[in-house]
Amino acid sequence: MNSKITRFIGGQWGQRALILLLIFIVMAVFERKFFTPGNVSSIFLAISVYGIMACGMLFVVLLGGLDLSVGSMAGLSAVIISFFAKNDNFGTGGVLTGLLAALAAAVVVGWLHGVLVTQINMPSFVVTLATKYILYGFMPMITSGAFIYITGEGLMYQVGNAKVLGVPMPIVIFLVVAVICGLILSRTTFGRRLYAIGGNPTASALVGIHVFRDTKIAYIISCVTAALGGMVLCSMNMIAGQTTGNGYEGNVLLAMIVGGINLAGGEGGVPGAVFGALLAGIITNLMTLLGVSADFQKFVQGMIILAAITLNVYTGRRSAGLSAPKRRRGKAAEESAKQG
C-alpha cells in the first residue's frame, strides 16, 4: 500500500501532479486572477482546442513523425466551415455541408502526407512544414482575405458556446475526442499496430503489419482532429480568418513534449497528450494574464520545448528528442556487448 503511494509519487503521474501543484501554488501567491471562474473556464476552453489537436497528432508522433501542418489545417477547416455556414445564413445544413467539406479536405491532406512520407520517403517535418504554408495560402482563396463573423445562435454558435449540463461544449467535444482516440489506441488492433510500427517498423512488417497503410491512416487522423479543432476554435471566437489556428502547431508540439510523448515514436498515450495540452494551456493563459505579448509567448514556448527535451535526454527515461547518430552509437555499443 505504502509502496504504491511512493511509486505513484516517484512515477510519471506523480511528477505530473507535482508540476501542476507547483504552478497552482505559484499562481495562488502571485496572480490571484488565475483562479477566477472566468479565467478557469477560459483556460479549459483553450485547452480543449489544443487537446483535440494533440490527441490526433499523437497518432503521428507515435510513429516517430511530426505534423506541423495542424495549425494551418485548423485554420483552413475553420474558414471552409464558416464559408459554407455563412452562405446558408448559419443554418444547420450549411454548417454540416461545411463540416463535411472540411473533413474531406483533411482526409485528402492527411493522405497526401502519408503518401509523401511512406512512398517518397520524405522526412515528415519537411512535408508537413511545406503543407503548413500551402494550406495557409489556400485560406484567403475562401475568405477573399476578409474575416467571416459567425452570427446567430445556430449550430455554428452552439459548437463553441453551448453548455451540456453546465459544461461548455468545447470541453465536451475535447473529452469525446480524447476518449475516442484513447480507445482507438488502447483497445483496437489498429492502435496496437501503431505502437508496434513506432517501436520497430522492420519487425512490424515481418509480423504482417501493412506499415504504409497504417502510417497513412495515422496522418489522416491527425488532419481530421486538426479540422475539428479548427471548427471549435472559430465557433468559440465567433470569427474565422487568416489568423485562425496560426501557430497552433507550436502549442500542440509543446503539449506533446511536456506530456512526455517520445518523439522517437512507440511510447506515450492520450493521457500524456491531455496532460501536455493542460500544461500548454495553463502556460499560455499565465502569460496572457501576466501581460506577455502573443509574439513573446513564442519565446517562452521555445524555451520550454528546449528545456523539456533536454530534461528528457538527461533523465534518460525516454529517448525523446535524442538525435539519430547518438542512438546509432548506442546500438553499436549494445551489439559489441552482445558479441562479448
Binding site: 522526412p123 512544414l129 482575405g145 508540439l253 509574439d295 519565446f299 521555445g302 528528442g321
Partner: protein, 335 residues
C-alpha cells in the same frame, strides 16, 4: 565517341534551366522585367534570401537542418537597429550583428552537438526563442513588455550607407556574390568543406576516418547563424528601420531555395552554388507573383509546393542516377 555527363551536372542544368525558363517567361510577358532597375532590385532581394540560404546550405550539406534562420534575422535586426542610435560607425554595427548571429548559431550548435537534441526540433524551438528575444528588445510605445511595438527610423548615416547601391548595384548583392564565391571555395578547397561533405554523406564512416563530427556540426550552425546575421544587418540598413516581422518565414524560404538548387535534405549532395541559384529562382517566383498581380497568398502555396516537388524530384532523380550508374558499370564489365 565518348560523351559523359555527370549526374551532378545534370541536376545543376535542371536548376539553371528552371531559372532561365522562368526569367524568359517574365521577360516575354512583362515589359518592365528586363529593365536594369528591376533586375538590380531582384538581385537585391535574392541576396537577402541568398545569404540565409547560403548558411543553411552548409548545414544541409553536413546532413542537418536549420529552422532558426528567421528568428536570428529578427533578433539581429532589432538589436542592430537599436545599436545604430548609439552612434557607432556602421562597420562596427555590422560586425556586431554578424557576431550576434554567430552566437545564436553557436547556441544551436551546442544544443545539437553537445546536448544531442534532434536538429529540427531544437532549431524550431530556438527559432521561437530568438524571435521572442528580438521582440523583447524591440521599441515599444510605453516601454512595457506589453506595449505596442513601434519602429523608429534609423538616422545613423554610416550605417545607412551600407544599404545603398553603386550605379544601381546594391552592396548586399556584392556581399552575397562575394560570400557565395568564398564559401564555394571553402567548401571545395579546405578541410572544413571536405569534412562537411564527408559527415553529410556518411557520418559513421567520417567519424571512423577521424572527422570531428561534433565540432563540424557546431561550426556549420555558427556559419549559418553568422550568414543570417549578415543578411539581417544589410536588410535593416537598406530599409532604414527594423520591424518585428523581420525574418518571418525566411527559414522556410531558405530551405526551399536550397532544395530547388539541388541540395538534398539528408546531406552530402549539392553545393553552395545550388543555394545561390535556388535563391534567384525563389525571388523570380515571388517577383512574378507580384508582377501578375496575384494575391500574396500564392507565395505560400508556391513555397510549400516547391519544397515538396523538389524533394520528390530529387528522390526520383536519385533512383535515375542509380540506374544510370548501374548501366554504366554493366557496360564497363561487358567491354
Amino acid at each position: 565517341m565518348k560523351f559523359k555527363i555527370r549526374n551532378k551536372t545534370v541536376r545543376r542544368l535542371v536548376s539553371i534551366g528552371l531559372v532561365i525558363a522562368l526569367a524568359l517567361f517574365f521577360a516575354l510577358s512583362t515589359e518592365a522585367f528586363l529593365s536594369p532597375r528591376n533586375l538590380f532590385l531582384l538581385l537585391k532581394d535574392s541576396a537577402y534570401l541568398g545569404l540565409i540560404a547560403l548558411g543553411v546550405s552548409i548545414v544541409i550539406i553536413g546532413g542537418g537542418i536549420d529552422l532558426s534562420g528567421g528568428g536570428i534575422v529578427c533578433v539581429v535586426g532589432i538589436l542592430t537597429s537599436r545599436l545604430t542610435f548609439t552612434g557607432l560607425p556602421g562597420i562596427v554595427i555590422l560586425a556586431g550583428g554578424v557576431i550576434l548571429g554567430a552566437v545564436c548559431g553557436a547556441a544551436n550548435g551546442f544544443l545539437i552537438a553537445a546536448v544531442h537534441l534532434t536538429e529540427f526540433v531544437a532549431t524550431l524551438a530556438t527559432g521561437f526563442v530568438f524571435t521572442g528575444m528580438g521582440l523583447l528588445f524591440a521599441y515599444r510605445s510605453n516601454g512595457r513588455i506589453s506595449g505596442n511595438l513601434i519602429s523608429k527610423s534609423i538616422t545613423n548615416k554610416s550605417f545607412l550607407a551600407m544599404g545603398k547601391h553603386i550605379n544601381g548595384l546594391y552592396y548586399i548583392t556584392i556581399v552575397w556574390v562575394a560570400m557565395s564565391v568564398l564559401s564555394h571555395f571553402v567548401m571545395v578547397r579546405t578541410k572544413f568543406g571536405l569534412h562537411t561533405y564527408a559527415m553529410g554523406s556518411h557520418e559513421k564512416s567520417a567519424e571512423m576516418s577521424g572527422v570531428n563530427v561534433a565540432r563540424q556540426k557546431a561550426l556549420g550552425f555558427v556559419i549559418s547563424g553568422a550568414c543570417a546575421g549578415l543578411a539581417s544587418v544589410m536588410v535593416v540598413a537598406n530599409m532604414g528601420a527594423s520591424a518585428a516581422s523581420l525574418g518571418t518565414g525566411y527559414e522556410f524560404q531558405a530551405i526551399a531555395a536550397c532544395v530547388v538548387g539541388g541540395l538534398v535534405l539528408g546531406g552530402g549532395k549539392g553545393d553552395t552554388i545550388g543555394a545561390f541559384i535556388g535563391s534567384i529562382f525563389m525571388l523570380l517566383v515571388l517577383n512574378g507573383l507580384y508582377k501578375f498581380n496575384l494575391p500574396t497568398y500564392w507565395q505560400y502555396i508556391f513555397q510549400g509546393a516547391i519544397i515538396i516537388i523538389a524533394t520528390a524530384f530529387d528522390a526520383q532523380f536519385a533512383k535515375f542516377a542509380q540506374k544510370r550508374r548501374a548501366a554504366e558499370s554493366a557496360a564497363r564489365t561487358a567491354a
